[in-house]
């Protein structure tokens, strides 16, 4: 098992946000983490990365418990995070963003450039001067350059033009085909469900439903994901 999240309870100060979340991700699996706004998706991701350490429960990555590890060591266990809001390093160039955190492995600069050819054209441009879509490609590329075992995409296509979204989804499908494990948070169900092997739906900081996408009926979607 690649990721084992067991009964985690996370707090914002004294306010509890997660009430015993449990789910697993196997090698090569794509899991969709779903739920309405404020249900705990981003908090779960921050807990996995130890950016917001849980006060209870246990998280392990490939058998290694993460509770005593600082965030950079959790990342080195093989977590590649693409955070919400396209957070690149704005005052570094595209190239510098990619190489700053690179670690050896199958994902090289050439392969990232092949996945996102636009980044080649923008090589020496500052990240802050890129369009939203290009910044998102850069954020995904930067995460891949760390050669993760699990890629976490938090709202990777939010706010992007439809054409750019297609580029991002095409990249996600390519990564899945290559056997990379992915945890995806996204609101575009028409793209998300075909690519996911399994769905984990959160409601009020708890897992409300898990199963394969085919079983996530319109009724369930309406109940857990509708606005």
């Amino acid at each position: 098992m690649l990721l084992d999240v067991h009964d985690i309870r996370t707090f914002y100060g004294s306010a509890q946000a997660l009430f015993g979340i449990t789910f697993q991700i196997e090698d090569g699996e794509v899991v969709a983490l779903m739920g309405r706004n404020g249900m705990g998706k981003s908090t779960t991701i921050k807990s996995i990365c130890n950016l917001m350490p849980p006060k209870g429960g246990r998280i392990s990555i490939a058998g290694t418990a993460t509770d005593r590890l600082p965030p950079h060591k959790v990342a080195r266990l093989g977590i590649g995070l693409v955070p919400e809001g396209r957070r690149c390093f704005p005052n570094l160039t595209v190239h510098e963003n990619l190489v700053a955190a690179a670690r050896p492995g199958q994902w090289t600069l050439a392969r990232v450039n092949a996945l996102f050819p636009r980044l080649v054209e923008r090589r020496d441009q500052l990240a802050r001067s890129l369009s939203g879509g290009e910044q998102q490609m850069l954020a995904v590329g930067r995460a891949l350059m760390t050669n993760p075992r699990l890629l976490i995409l938090d709202e990777a296509t939010e706010g992007l033009a439809p054409v750019i979204r297609q580029d991002i989804w095409r990249a996600i499908r390519t990564l899945k085909a290559e056997g990379l494990s992915i945890l995806v948070v996204d609101k575009t169900l028409s793209e998300l469900l075909p690519v996911a092997d399994r769905c984990v739906v959160l409601e009020n900081g708890q897992v409300a439903w898990t199963g394969v996408p085919q079983d996530l009926t319109a009724d369930l979607q309406d109940r857990y994901l509708g606005v």
Partner: protein, 324 residues
């Protein structure tokens, strides 16, 4: 395409190189000393620019490294002059290359010690801890009578560089200028390396850096130590220029002066410290002859720079920083 900043850097480098030769030709030897002082202060500030400009580390203790460089030069040469052994029968040295190496090692170790403790803090606490360490070194030097205490230590004959006569002002300027160019080259190498990218990323967002697997502390510590070593090298040259080293090289005024040079020239810019040192020394020498309160006018210029030209002289001339 050659950028405007590259051209400005080239002009500044040539200007600094040309001035002493012109001064020598027209019989103005004091101007050679001023140009040498500019080159040495620019080298010291380039060292600080690694920590401050690239890493965002506002060190108010770099005088400690500058002064340690000076004292290494003074102590080694005084023993070599007197013949008194130091430790293990070592009788000091008058060879600049050996002195520079020793100063870099000593300052690197001191930087490691100060960095390991102070880099666990940030913001105003980091400023205060670096200042406190520098003041400790300052008071240690004052209370060390073996090497002059408060009176300082004279270097009777300037230390030697292989193949040249460093007692000639123009030659010594050449040595200082060469060291500055090497220092600037190292700064550019660090800035453009993977390490430099990580260092600047740490400055921009520590949490985001950790989430991609980079630990901020070792990156900052390495930058701090490299910065200390380069500033110490400048300290050796400064002691040789004045043929004198005193605790004033270690005082907090010196730390402040180095920060001022960088802000005036352009923080994080390759030639920011050079432009800053030029402006500072020119103002000091031009206004210093007219009034004792020349620093009041420097303060006004610094105020104007901070308010209206955040990129310093280089930013004003070349536009926005590539790495802001």
């Amino acid at each position: 395409m050659i950028s405007r900043e590259f051209l400005i850097n080239g002009v500044l480098a040539l200007l600094l190189l040309a001035v002493p030769f012109i001064a020598s030709a027209v019989g103005q030897p004091f101007t050679i000393t001023l140009a040498t002082r500019i080159a040495i202060l620019a080298l010291a500030a380039t060292g600080l620019n690694i920590a401050l400009g690239l890493g965002g580390l506002v060190s108010f203790g770099h005088a400690a490294f500058f002064g340690v460089g000076g004292y290494v030069a003074g102590i080694l040469s005084s023993h070599a002059f007197s013949g008194d052994p130091m430790i293990f029968g070592f009788e000091g040295s008058k060879q600049m290359l050996l002195i520079w190496l020793t100063a870099a090692i000593v300052a690197g170790l001191l930087g490691l010690l100060i960095g390991v403790i102070s880099l666990r803090t940030s913001g105003v606490y980091f400023i205060m801890i670096t200042l406190a360490f520098a003041q400790m070194v300052y008071y240690f030097a004052i209370s060390w009578p073996a090497y002059g205490g408060e009176d300082g230590l004279s270097i009777v004959v300037r230390n030697q560089f292989p193949g040249v006569n460093t007692m000639r002002p123009l030659t010594f300027f050449g040595v200082a200028y060469g060291a500055l160019i090497v220092g600037l080259g190292l700064f550019a190498m660090i800035r453009d390396s993977r390490f430099g990218a990580a260092l600047q990323a740490v400055r921009q967002n520590e949490v985001r850096v950790a989430s991609v697997g980079i630990s901020p502390l070792p990156i900052r510590l390495t930058a701090f130590v490299l910065s200390a070593m380069m500033t110490a090298l400048a300290g050796c040259l400064y002691a040789d220029l004045n043929r004198f080293v005193s605790p004033s090289m270690l005082s907090w005024h010196m730390s402040g002066e180095l920060i001022v040079l960088i802000i005036l020239g352009g923080t994080g810019r390759l030639f920011g410290p050079v432009a800053g040192a030029m402006l500072y020394v020119v103002i000091e020498s031009a206004l210093g002859g007219i009034t004792e309160r020349w620093q009041f006018f420097l303060g006004l210029i610094l105020l104007a720079t901070v308010l209206f030209a955040r990129g310093g002289v280089i930013g004003l001339l070349a536009g926005k920083a590539r790495h802001g």
